[in-house]
């Protein structure tokens, strides 16, 4: 490899990394078990844009205190999570769930983040317990908490990007019509089915008719013979 190619590679890497870092932002998470009176750090969600334009999110825990113990101590209160996006410094996103559900799912969270990728803003942030990690079926009204949950909170981040709705697909419909017209002009597509497969709907009535008339005919003959 020549030195020039190294330069080109490193330049490309530079450009790539700037693109990636430009389309990456973070959402800082805090939690409260005291109805918003005091907040503790929960973690950070890093949102990254992949090549296809979709966003993926990953969660890193920054909590220092034992979340499991705190949750089981405050089961009657509400587990509130507050998010602050690095791109919208003066906006807060608030979500809440019951501590019991998080304990049942062994501190496995699901963060549902809805973003407008084009404008790099968060539209909403919702916290859920992860039903995959849970012991038994999760039910918000009849929750059975596991008080001996320890360790760091873990989370799956689901990022929902703003989609674009389709407009009527006239183009492919016209193409389809055109294709059909051409096929018609060319004498139709080759039909590889066998004779019976093709014309069974004509054959079956004929066979049935023949059968029925056969069944009737011997009786008539029998009667005729009797006379």
């Amino acid at each position: 490899m020549t030195p020039w190619s190294y330069v080109i590679y490193s330049l490309a890497l530079c450009v790539f990394s700037t693109i990636v870092s430009a389309s990456e932002w973070t959402v800082n998470l805090d939690y409260s078990l005291s109805n918003g009176d005091s907040w503790s750090s929960l973690g950070v969600i890093v949102l990254k844009r992949s090549f296809d334009g979709n966003y993926t999110g990953s969660y890193k825990s920054t909590t220092t205190d034992n979340l499991g113990v705190r949750l089981s101590e405050a089961q009657s209160s509400m587990y509130q999570v507050r998010g602050k996006s690095s791109t919208q410094p003066n906006r807060e996103f608030l979500s809440s769930t019951s501590p019991c559900l998080i304990l049942q799912s062994r501190l496995f969270h699901v963060f549902w983040v809805s973003v407008d990728g084009e404008r790099q803003i968060v539209q909403s942030l919702t916290v859920f317990p992860d039903s995959v990690a849970a012991e038994g079926q999760l039910d918000s009204q009849h929750c059975t908490a596991n008080p001996q949950v320890k360790g760091e909170p873990k989370a799956v981040v689901h990022v929902q990007n703003k989609a674009v709705l389709p407009s009527p697909d006239t183009q492919s419909f016209v193409q389809k019509m055109e294709r059909e017209r051409k096929a018609k002009q060319a004498g139709g597509e080759a039909d590889n089915r066998s004779f019976i497969q093709k014309y069974w709907m004509y054959i079956v009535p004929v066979v049935l008719f023949a059968l029925v008339s056969n069944m009737v005919a011997p009786q008539e003959e029998g009667q005729g013979g009797g006379r």
């Binding site: 509400m78 039910d139 918000s140 929902q160 989609a163 674009v164 709705l165 009527p168 419909f173």
Partner: protein
């Protein structure tokens, strides 16, 4: 081309034929449907001048020209009150004040569409004589219109345009900006332009050359031109109790001369010989132009007053009075004849003087229009006709089941209660069945009597006898002969509708007759509540259905006191319209919702949130129910995209904030619609069967709310699907190059939306369907607080719709088994029913063999609009604002009520009448054939036996 394809095309062809079979036959017209055409709440009425024309041509019925708040110009037949002709103007307007009309002997001049178009109609037939476009954009300033002997002057925007009477443009000139303008012809035939801005009246003479001559500027007490009238060369304005008169006749304006009237003035009216009538609450005084009082008429609680040639007419709550215009002496005074429903207070009267009678058209606060004829000579007042024009201003509609009939109640009674021993239940059964027999006997007797009566009165030949006998069944089902009770298939309902003027109507769904009418507030004017998105509404809630047959049904309506904005809740019986309870709240209502669970006496309580964020319940929620109540969540939306979720704390009666988010809307983007799902929706099928025999489960989240925001600058519409319990934004999407009007239908697992596409310059309809995938997360019930195992997937598609859309709704059936149909109210007057199979996000472009077997419909970009799909066939209905659907007792049938300036009711059969025998099903023929076959088989059996015997002997 394959045979299957041919069959497929044949099938589609057959389907189209079947579709036309769903449409109705000539003899079915009006059988299940009815329509009422209305003109709207009148703002002015003009009588035909002394019926001169009527005497020359006795065939011609005299007409009354009415102009309404609903932008309609119509002529009513004076004798019957029926609409002779009606011309609806552009209803989608922003400045209702800009609508001006002038009626002269031959023509009606109208300035319509926010002051953009001048239209001239012939008075007799309502045909358009000529029209002229004045402005491109809607005008939000004041407008004025004047028709002279040879010119039409129109002021719209800041331009005064002059046309000849034939519609030829003459010239135009610019006018200063002001808050009120009026063009007026002086007795000298000079035209003056009066304009008022910040209590300064500017008077300018309009010169023929196309310029103005300033006649003067003066200060007035009245800040609004609505408080002024013009009499000859004078202008009179009032402010609390003082009257100011301005003389416009000279070169410069003189005045104002001020007169203290000593009464708080409600209204002014003009009398003959340049005199001013001043109406106070308990008196009418007449002044001359110098301010001298001529006479005063004392009368308690005068609601409206008007003058004709030589009389002053007053209307009070109960009486009509006629007074001599010269000296104020009473000519006649009499009670107003009683009406079926209690009258609201009169807001305006219009009077016409005939030879020895007066015709008085009274407009009441509930928009009821009634024509009285007063004949002082014969000393009588007759009510000729009345029109319930409030029906053109409906705000919300509910359809309520009628109570069980007596026989149905007996059946319910039979199976009610704990099972006793055999003998007691046998006795119970015998008693109830005897009761049913008795009832049947009485009914049959009554029908026989009616029939014999109609034979006696109507029959004069054999043909009419046959006709009467054939119609015997129909006659007995006419209204009046039946009590208000549920029919066999629950097809007859009570339509309860609230109007923006504070009236609740009870309509019979059989024929649209007003059964009862409830004036919400007689003392203070009722006002509509405003939603967070700025829409006016008077919400109705069904608190107890008639399903609990021992108890009466109960509904609630919420509105506000128009004076102090405090909330008022009225609880009433939906069948009789009787008020059960009235709650005056001490604060304005911020939000009112109905609780999904039952409180005491099987009543769903209302949850009322006032402006201080306190919660109350009407009726009160018992403590034991409040403690065990299932959690209730509320979501608040504001137009800027701030969403907040709350949980109701029933014990402490407060809201607990659960979540908050901001949708990050652009600075000029606003949320315009929020649409939840129908409260009692039943979904029959939990999934969609795929071609590979797998099931794609529907994402059936009952808490899902659809929001639509509009960005007019970037021509973009965004749709948001929010779970109102957790604030989870399940899906967001944007429509590029799209603008309002936008309409949403949200039900089951799909959202259908109609919008204007700027790119295609056409209306398009989109559909979004949500699926959970091949595994269902919550098998028993949906739980918003627990996420689905896989995120819901969204399938979307859109279609071209060759018509505009005024309103959109979806059919609703008892079990949700029948295919849904989406209803579109079209601006051209049709109500188009489109099956959901057409508006489907999963229509494939290319059909495979398996798809054909599943009878899937291939994708076509356009939704066909066929005339036979119009459920209202030729009964066009206009300016439809909403469509209410309700299930009937039959699964195939859905009931539909569309309301706008017209109201229309019909039955829908979205999947055909699969559980109903056809109307023309020949019971007789079937019985005859069956009997014939039985007889034939018996006879042939005998013959065969005797033949066999004969053969044995042979």
């Amino acid at each position: 081309m394959g045979i299957m394809k041919r069959i497929g095309i044949g099938l589609i062809f057959l389907l189209t034929i079947f579709k036309s079979c769903y449409s109705i036959y000539e003899d079915q017209v009006g059988k299940w449907d009815w329509r009422q055409q209305l003109v709207g709440c009148p703002i002015s009425a003009t009588f035909e001048g002394q019926s001169k024309a009527a005497s020359s041509n006795s065939q011609r019925q005299p007409q009354l020209v009415v102009v309404s708040k609903e932008q309609a110009i119509a002529a009513l037949n004076m004798n019957t009150g029926k609409i002779a002709w009606r011309r609806l103007q552009e209803a989608n307007i922003t400045n209702p004040e800009a609508f001006k009309t002038i009626v002269d002997e031959k023509y009606i001049y109208s300035l319509v569409d926010d002051g953009r178009i001048l239209r001239v109609w012939t008075r007799r037939t309502g045909t358009l004589s000529w029209q002229e476009k004045l402005e491109e954009t809607p005008q939000n300033g004041p407008t004025s219109l004047l028709a002279n002997n040879d010119e039409v002057l129109v002021l719209s925007g800041q331009t005064l345009s002059v046309f000849t009477k034939k519609g030829v443009f003459k010239h135009k000139m610019q006018v200063e900006k002001s808050t009120w303008v009026q063009l007026h012809t002086l007795p000298t035939q000079d035209v003056v332009l009066l304009s008022l801005s910040a209590s300064t009246l500017t008077v300018q003479q309009v010169k023929d050359a196309g310029n103005f001559l300033l006649k003067g500027r003066i200060q007035l007490k009245a800040a609004s031109g609505e408080k002024c009238i013009l009499i000859g060369a004078h202008m009179a304005c009032y402010h609390s109790d003082s009257l100011q008169i301005v003389d416009l006749s000279g070169q410069t304006v003189k005045g104002p001369s001020e007169v203290a009237t000593g009464t708080s003035i409600r209204d002014l009216f003009a009398l003959e010989n340049d005199r001013i009538g001043v109406r106070g609450p308990d008196s009418v005084s007449v002044f001359d132009l110098t301010g001298k009082k001529i006479f005063t008429i004392q009368e308690k609680n005068i609601e409206a007053a008007e003058a004709v040639k030589n009389a002053v007419i007053l209307i009070t709550k109960t009486q009509i009075g006629v007074y001599d215009a010269k000296d104020g002496k009473q000519v006649f005074k009499m009670n107003i004849p009683a009406s079926t429903f209690e009258r609201a207070s009169a807001t305006r009267i219009f009077v016409n003087q005939l030879k020895d009678e007066y015709e008085i058209l009274a407009v009441f606060a509930d928009c009821r229009v009634e024509l009285f004829v007063v004949n002082p000579g014969r000393n009588q007042v007759t009510s000729e006709w009345c029109r319930e024009e409030g029906l053109a201003r409906l705000a919300q509609v509910e359809m309520v089941d009628l109570p069980l009939s007596e026989s149905q109640q007996l059946i319910e009674d039979e199976f009610e209660g704990a099972a006793g021993n055999i003998i007691s239940s046998l006795i119970k059964r015998c008693v109830t069945q005897l009761g049913q027999l008795k009832r049947w006997f009485i009914r049959t007797l009554r029908e026989m009597f009616t029939l014999s009566h109609s034979i006696k009165t109507q029959v004069n030949s054999f043909a009419t006898l046959a006709e009467v006998l054939r119609n015997a069944g129909k006659y007995s089902h006419e209204r009046g002969s039946l009590p208000l009770e549920r029919d066999l298939f629950n097809l007859r309902k009570m339509i309860v509708a609230s109007s923006l003027d504070g009236v609740v109507y009870g309509l019979d769904s059989n024929d649209g007759a007003v059964i009862w009418k409830l004036q919400l507030s007689k003392v203070v004017p009722p006002g509509a509540l405003k939603t967070a998105l700025g829409k006016e509404k008077i919400p109705l809630f069904v608190q107890r259905t008639t399903a609990h047959y021992q108890l009466k049904g109960q509904m609630a309506v919420a509105f506000q006191n128009a004076i102090n904005s405090n909330g008022v809740i009225v609880l009433f019986d939906p069948i009789t319209g009787e008020i059960v309870e009235k709650h005056q709240l001490s604060r304005p209502i911020k939000r009112v919702e109905i609780l999904p669970f039952l409180g005491a006496d099987h009543v769903h309580s209302l949850l009322i949130l006032d402006d201080s964020e306190r919660i109350s319940f009407v009726p009160k929620l018992p403590d034991e129910i409040a403690i065990s109540a299932s959690p209730i969540f509320l979501m608040d939306v504001d137009p800027k995209g701030n969403l907040d979720g709350y949980k109701v704390n029933f014990i402490e009666k407060r809201l607990v904030k659960q979540w908050h988010t901001n949708l990050g809307l652009d600075s000029n983007e606003r949320i315009v619609i929020s649409q939840g799902k129908p409260a009692h929706e039943k979904v029959h099928s939990q999934g969609r069967v795929l071609i590979d025999r797998n099931v794609d489960y529907k994402y059936l989240n009952p808490n899902l709310v659809a929001l639509a925001s509009v960005d007019t600058i970037h021509q973009q519409i965004s749709l948001f699907l929010v779970d109102s319990v957790t604030g989870q934004l399940v899906h967001t999407a944007k429509l590029l190059k799209a603008s309002p009007p936008i309409h949403l239908v949200h039900c089951e697992n799909w959202l259908a939306y109609a919008y204007w596409s700027d790119r295609g310059r056409r209306t398009e309809i989109g559909i979004m369907e949500l699926y959970e995938g091949e595994e269902k997360s919550n098998k028993q019930k949906f739980d918003s607080l627990v996420p689905t195992k896989t995120p819901p997937s969204v399938v979307a598609q859109s279609y071209i719709y060759a018509q505009g859309v005024d309103a959109m709704a979806v059919s609703e059936t008892e079990q949700g088994l029948t295919n849904k149909a989406i209803l579109f109210a079209l601006p051209l007057g049709g109500i188009h029913e489109v099956t959901r199979r057409f508006i489907d996000a999963t229509r494939p472009l290319e059909l495979t063999q398996e798809m054909r077997e599943e009878m899937m419909i291939p994708y076509m970009p356009e939704i066909p609009v066929a005339p036979e799909d119009m459920v209202n066939y030729n009964q066009t209905v206009y300016n439809i604002r909403g469509i209410k659907t309700a299930p009937a007792g039959l699964e195939s049938t859905s009931l539909m009520f569309a309301y706008g300036i017209d109201v229309f009711f019909t039955r829908l059969y979205p999947s055909g009448t699969f559980d109903i025998l056809k109307d023309d099903f020949d019971h007789l023929l079937i019985s005859v054939v069956l009997l014939g076959l039985i007889l034939g088989s018996i006879i042939s059996k005998r013959i065969a036996r005797s033949n066999a015997l004969n053969a044995a002997w042979a």
